[in-house]
Symmetry: C2
Subunit: 307 residues, 2 copies
Amino acid sequence: MTKIAIVGSGLIGRSWALVFARAGMDVAAWDPDEGTRERLDADVAAMLRDSDLAEPADVAARIAGVETLAEALAGADLVQESGPENAEIKRELFARMDAAAAPETILSSSSSALVPSVFCSGLSGAARCLVAHPVNPPHLVPVVELCPSTETAPEVMDRAEAIYRRAQQIPVRLTREIDGFVLNRLQAALLAEALRLVSEGVVDVQGLDDTVRHGLGRRWAFMGPLETIMLNAPNGATDYMVRYGGPMGRLANDSARGEAFSAKAAEVLTEAFPSLSSSAAIRDRQNWRDGELAALDAHLSKRRTKD
Amino acid sequence: MTKIAIVGSGLIGRSWALVFARAGMDVAAWDPDEGTRERLDADVAAMLRDSDLAEPADVAARIAGVETLAEALAGADLVQESGPENAEIKRELFARMDAAAAPETILSSSSSALVPSVFCSGLSGAARCLVAHPVNPPHLVPVVELCPSTETAPEVMDRAEAIYRRAQQIPVRLTREIDGFVLNRLQAALLAEALRLVSEGVVDVQGLDDTVRHGLGRRWAFMGPLETIMLNAPNGATDYMVRYGGPMGRLANDSARGEAFSAKAAEVLTEAFPSLSSSAAIRDRQNWRDGELAALDAHLSKRRTKD
């Protein structure tokens, strides 16, 4: 039986607990904050109410809130650390976990902004540390980026990958540390150009979003951007580069840089989304988004049997 | 009754014919090539066999192949030009169409690479010319980018937008000419970074595609990238920029440029897709893609009633 420890049981940690528990794994969840620990059962029950799992009570029964870090780590095959995005806090937490966990326990961080060497370097167990960066919320978006430091052992990466795969996630292995990993690097490149185009008034915000939602995103939801261009190249990738490499390369040369993340862009966005002007309204729309993510996942899973 | 002329009835032109005809419009399709004209009925029948339209015979009956450009243009509200992506050919074709069509007929080009002034500038009817750039195939991907030249009349843009909307497409209006319009600018920015990451071996091709397919693309299929970041900003867009503008901006500053469209990238792609090494295999996979696009469109349409 695989045992998972969740360290930090806020929004992301709870979602991870659901991922592992619904795949039949035993989960022990701990948070340094007493209030968060006390709310765990109620928060898990709320997530389960919104899900359409066949046996929600069985899933809930596999998630145990525990009172100490040591209890969470005891016997764990993998720890999913999901604490604040702060180098100092993670460094201290990883030192504590490395000292307390059995040597074969994998220590994975949900960090989106910090590469693993930032908080694992110098630990005696640095070889068993990695980042496993999810998309929020992981129980509705399956990709998880696995990023090693130079000290992470390949066999640890293999074991981690196998565990995430058994949990029905889609692990993507990076070969080395890189800021932003893969997902946010791709997102930043597209967003910069998007923000520039709306800031300069070439297109309005709805038009920009429609271009992706009813255009690019229609393909990228079931095949990646690289397979997409392969299918536009009847004579192969070399032919694609000969035909489109020049013009696409010129567009990339001209695409926006970091300054597109500007105060002006923030103003344009604020004006374009009057319906998202309160945090209550944003929470409602997040719930809508999560419902759509679940429905899309169900659709795509059904189609995959027809591949 | 709205009447549409299709000028150039190859792959894109035929798909456009289906878009307009299934929305109840009358379509006259012409191609300069006799063989293409002769194949029209059979090609339309094949498209209809793959669709799940309720009344395919009625749709087919609204698409008439005609023998001359003049017949196609007669009485047309809008011409959808879908000829080769060649400035000389388009310039000549637009001059002929501008001379022959009634003054109120809108002349739209499916061009993906040429801005409208390239082939409309100097025509006496330049005010009624624009680009209406679809995604291939338009009957399965609804977005259409409407790009005016400085000479295009705003009321022509209004009328064109209304026609595409009645045809159930999603028109996106640009305010001015820009190379690549919006969609390919966004695609080029993301692709450059994607090609760089796989060329440098940070991640393999499947991992890159999985990151989008099972991550970014899951959201972008039903909401745009800008609404996506608004929902990650519980205190609004200004707060988003304060929190994430710096780190995302640094990723954008560091993202790949045009040189990523390289011979090396083509090699990596070729190796990664051994199953796409013949044009027959690519055609099969295009058919799979089109089936998935249709299924996804049906899913999203059904969900939209629940918005």
